[in-house]
């Protein structure tokens, strides 16, 4: 089912649109400070592509990801996932949307400390419609040997790979990753990126990775730069570099 990773003959533009945002803004209060995290974002994500969103901290990239994933709501503008309008969706509709279509990977893994690797995955597969077995998901990220370890017994990279397994086990159409390597050293970070690249190819999952690490952009189909809550530019790579070749 995977296309040749090095070459994408049709080009992203010809494929189905998964996400589309228009004039998206988000303002929130942090303590007594009003933060304008997004100030009008227009963006499309296509099926099966791997997108890297780059930006300094405070550029609004996490907020954008959270809104697309239904973790947060916009102050104005619209978000659409395929045919579904997310802009004013109810809490219940957003819950179902997350349950059925989206997988998340967070910078700090957010594993449940009281559950083993296998159980951290199972907690998601138990409520999914068509999940793969937790063991299979963990095998995909190379953790088939550490199924019954608790998060505290795993290294940071391993924990992040459990988080990826948890995100992909329900076979989501979209994987949203917020600084997945932010808390890791470069060697483990690259292992995690390899796992993500592998998922993208093997399962044709649309993946959006948020990072402030320019190097990671080289493994993407497209690189979207954000600055001060706006899209600064979008760059399309001719060729994706395998994560194993990245260095930082």
């Amino acid at each position: 089912m995977a296309a040749d990773p090095k070459k994408r003959p049709e080009g992203s533009r010809n494929r189905d649109v998964v996400f589309e945002t228009r004039g998206l803004t988000k303002t929130y209060l942090m303590g007594e400070v009003e933060i304008h995290a997004l100030q009008g974002v227009d963006l499309k994500l296509y099926a099966g592509e791997l997108v890297v969103m780059l930006g300094a901290s405070g550029s609004g990239k996490s907020t954008l990801l959270n809104i697309m994933g239904g973790l947060d709501t916009a102050s104005s503008g619209t978000v659409r996932y395929r045919d579904q309008e997310l802009t004013n969706a109810s809490d219940k509709a957003l819950t179902l949307f997350r349950r059925d279509h989206v997988g998340f990977v967070f910078q700090f893994y957010n594993l449940i400390a009281s559950l083993t690797a296998r159980e951290n995955v199972a907690i998601v597969t138990e409520i999914s419609r068509d999940p793969m077995p937790p063991e299979e998901a963990l095998a995909l990220v190379g953790l088939n040997e550490r199924l019954d370890h608790f998060p505290a017994q795993l290294s940071g990279g391993e924990q992040q790979r459990v988080a990826i397994a948890r995100a992909i086990a329900k076979q989501p159409a979209v994987l949203l990753c917020d600084e997945p390597t932010g808390a890791l050293d470069s060697k483990t970070g690259i292992q995690v990126l390899e796992a993500l690249g592998h998922i993208n190819e093997a399962m044709d999952t649309t993946i959006a990775i948020i990072t402030h690490n320019e190097v990671i952009g080289e493994m993407a189909d497209r690189v979207i730069r954000l600055r001060d809550g706006r899209v600064e530019n979008i760059h399309e790579n001719d060729k994706r570099r395998p994560p194993g070749e990245l260095r930082w």
Partner: protein, 787 residues
């Protein structure tokens, strides 16, 4: 098992300290309700069954002497069901091997068979055989106190003649569930016994052949008791009747009723206070525990768990804790209640205790605890799920900090950085801090209430026996005796002081209210039996007019200056009007008092007395007793020190037992609250504290921030706790005031001190536990992980 449930169990294991503390609070609340209600239920159920099964009479009348033929007229009174005439005799007993004076009450039973009313429950042996004049059955408590068995012999002085009696069995009677001598407040089974013998034998010994001096009656259903009593009084008046009365004025029943009333008060007020306090604490603690799981809630939501799933998950967490607490509370509550019920059988002589655990009590207790805990849980869960998950995963925004007034005051120069952090931490969540303070204050309040009970009872007994009853012996005479008996008593061996009194049974009437008691006619300035005024100072008696115990006056709705109608129940049996001239403050019993000459005038008699109080040289007690027994007309000798010992024992066994249980529960609640507060404060601050350690603060300095916060909250809570405790004690005091005794609202500094010490100890213990945890904290890991 679903993974979420597995998480539940592991969370519970992680929270085990806190969960155990919360379970303890629940258990305390549940236990209190179960103890109080179950003991009450056991006692009233047992009473009801005993009364029904053993045909307890409903109307009782004493008289001088009436021929048996009058019984027929009594049976014809409309509304009367059964009539049992009896001979009743106060006697002096001598038990082999026991030297103290023993009083006895001899009652007749039909020849060799059970009476129609007030059946006897035969515990051992058999009833006296017909025609056997020397055989008696005795109350089982008296038998137990002296180790008497069927076949043993005791001696009785009946109308001045010594008879030897043989015990044929031991019995219980619904008429004497509570066995006390007429002048006493508490049972003294060694010095007071009840005996039953065949009618013919007793009548001949007591000079009552073909006659009776006591009658008991049962009523037809729907009959008006008051009318039957009036009717009886009219018939018996010419036979020296001193007024029939219903169960309300029957000695044993009245005391049992008082005890039930007291238990009912306890059953309402104590569990209410405990359950409310524990409900409040559960609410606060559960909501704060859930709040520390804010991030996990966000993760679950991010992966598509719905609000209901999450609410259910945390609801189950709380449910398990509630379940644990309830099981503990029900188990220990039932155990303690059955123990207490057993203690009560010592004072209330029933054949057996009917003990049961009622479903509704268990349900109510668990429902209140669970409801409160769930409310707290769901409140917090709602707060967590209401946030979009993205926000839930973000560290909580730095709260708005302000400089508090303390920091702006002159004190600011002494505040170092950690002190400022403590103050601002507390100041930034005023609601949370207030709730913590309130929680600690409430548990302190419970302790004050418990300690109050323990101390106040002692204070009450001290007042009674140091200030009011200052005599050593209390004599009663079988008939009114000329006042010159005073000098005769004064010259008995070892007698240091004598005061005589006249006691007249009366009915006090005020409006539609009435009360049966006796008026004590005393010396103008009594010394051995003092009357205290509202400020606890001894007062004298004016030449005319009546003094009443303040509680009784209030009960009758009388104020000083009011006229009291007094229905005299002896002699000419007139109703007279006497002004109320003063009030007496006394903790035990209630009474009416006059100067003796005034009472004698009221009775239209010369200077007669019916009893005396003696102060004696205890070294000559033996000789005095021998000599007193030789005096004609001495009906009973009571030893005040024995009475005091009895009442202390009784209080120790019942009220203090309750109070002790409550103090233990309050202590555990106090610890649970303080510990939970500290644990949560630790969870909320661990990142901040780790940061400070990384920045170079020592462990001690960092610990101080946490410990200082715990101690500061505790210190602030102290005055509120004292206030709340005083309120609780007041509520308890209001519920507890009754005829038999009124525990004064005296909260000693010791009670406050004890409660404070417990709470401070709990705080220090909690601080130590938390600091140990702080020292184990992995600083780097905490800093790396998102909050």
């Amino acid at each position: 098992m679903r993974t979420l449930n597995r998480k539940l169990l592991r969370d519970l294991a992680t929270l085990k300290g806190q969960a155990a503390a919360i379970a303890l609070v629940i258990a305390s609340g549940v236990m209190t309700l179960i103890i109080a209600v179950t003991t009450l239920d056991a006692l009233s159920l047992t009473q009801q069954r005993f009364y029904e099964d053993f045909h307890f009479a409903e109307v009782f009348a004493d008289l001088k002497r009436a021929p048996e033929s009058v019984a027929g007229r009594l049976r014809d009174i409309p509304g009367v069901n059964q009539v049992e005439t009896r001979v009743k005799a106060s006697v002096r007993l001598e038990v082999p091997g026991f030297d103290d004076p023993v009083r006895g009450l001899l009652l007749s039973i039909p020849e060799g068979r059970e009476p129609l009313l007030n059946h006897l429950y035969l515990r051992e042996g058999r009833l006296p055989e017909p025609g056997r004049a020397e055989e008696v059955v005795i109350s089982d408590a008296f038998a137990e106190a002296h180790g008497l068995r069927a076949g043993d012999r005791i001696e009785a002085i009946i109308r001045g003649r010594l008879s030897t009696l043989r015990v044929s069995g031991t019995v219980l009677s619904p008429e004497h569930v509570y066995q006390i001598a007429p002048t006493d407040l508490l049972p003294d089974y060694k010095r007071y016994g009840i005996l039953w013998m065949n009618r013919r034998a007793l009548a001949s010994a007591y000079g009552m052949e073909g006659a009776f001096n006591n009658v008991v009656v049962s009523l037809q259903s729907g009959a008006a008791e008051a009318e039957v009593i009036d009717h009886l009084d009219r018939i018996l008046a010419r036979y020296g009747g001193i007024g029939a009365h219903g169960r309300d004025d029957q000695h044993s029943h009245r005391f049992l009723d008082e005890e039930l009333k007291q238990l009912r008060a306890q059953a309402v007020i104590l569990p209410t206070i405990f359950l409310l306090v524990s409900a409040f604490l559960l609410n606060v603690v559960m909501s704060r525990i859930i709040r520390t799981q804010r991030e996990q809630v966000a993760v679950l939501k991010a992966f598509g768990y719905g609000n209901l799933d999450i609410a259910l998950h945390y609801g189950m967490l709380t449910g398990l804790i509630v379940l644990l607490g309830s099981v503990l509370g029900i188990g220990f509550g039932a155990w303690a209640a059955s123990g207490l019920a057993a203690i009560y059988t010592e004072y209330f002589r029933f054949p057996e205790m009917s003990f049961r655990l009622q479903g509704w009590v268990v349900f109510l207790a668990v429902a209140v605890a669970a409801g409160a805990a769930m409310l707290g849980t769901l409140r917090a869960v709602w707060g967590a799920v209401r946030l979009p998950p993205a926000e839930g995963m973000r560290p909580e925004p730095p709260a708005r900090f302000r400089r508090g007034w303390l920091e702006r005051s002159a004190l600011r120069h002494w505040l170092d950085q950690p002190a400022r952090i403590i103050l601002r931490n507390l100041g930034r969540h005023p609601l949370k801090s207030s709730l913590s303070v309130l929680g600690i204050a409430m548990s302190l309040g419970l302790l004050v209430m418990g300690a109050y009970q323990l101390n106040a009872v002692d204070h009450m007994i001290d007042t009674q026996y140091r200030e009011v009853m200052r005599m050593d012996l209390h004599l009663t005479f079988s008939d009114p005796t000329p006042a010159r008996v005073h000098s005769e008593l004064r010259h008995q061996p070892g007698v240091l002081a004598v005061e005589t009194y006249r006691s007249v049974p009366v009915r006090l009437l005020a409006g539609h209210r009435e009360y049966r008691t006796s008026i004590l006619g005393m010396d103008e300035q009594p010394y051995l039996r003092q009357l205290l005024d509202g400020r606890q100072r001894p007062q004298g008696l004016p030449p005319e007019g009546l003094l009443l115990t303040d509680y009784l006056a209030q009960d009758l709705g009388l104020r000083v200056g009011d006229e009291v109608r007094v229905e005299i129940q002896e002699g000419h049996r007139q109703t007279v009007t006497v002004p109320l001239v003063g009030l007496v403050d006394e903790p035990l019993g209630v009474g009416a008092y006059m100067q003796r000459p005034a009472l004698n005038r009221l009775m239209r008699e010369g200077p007669a007395v019916t009893g005396a109080w003696l102060m004696i040289d205890s070294g000559q007690q033996r000789a005095l007793f021998d000599s007193l027994w030789d005096l004609p007309g001495v009906a009973s000798i009571g030893m005040i020190s024995e009475a005091e010992r009895n009442i202390r024992e009784y209080m120790d066994d019942t009220i203090l037992m309750f109070a002790l249980v409550f103090v233990l529960l309050a202590t555990s609640i106090a610890f649970a609250v303080v510990y939970n507060n500290a644990r949560i404060a630790f969870a909320e601050r661990s990142r901040e504290l780790a940061t400070l350690q990384v920045l170079g603060y020592s462990r001690g300095e960092v610990s101080w921030i946490l410990v200082g916060e715990i101690l500061l909250l505790t210190l602030v809570a102290l005055p509120f706790g004292w206030l709340i405790g005083t309120g609780f004690a007041w509520a308890l005091n209001q519920a507890f005031s009754m005829d038999m005794f009124r525990v004064p609202l005296v909260i000693t500094p010791g009670a406050y001190g004890f409660a404070t010490a417990v709470v401070l100890t709990a705080s220090v213990a909690a601080a130590v536990l938390v600091v140990r945890r702080l020292h184990r904290l992995d600083k780097v890991a905490v800093l790396k992980a998102v909050e």
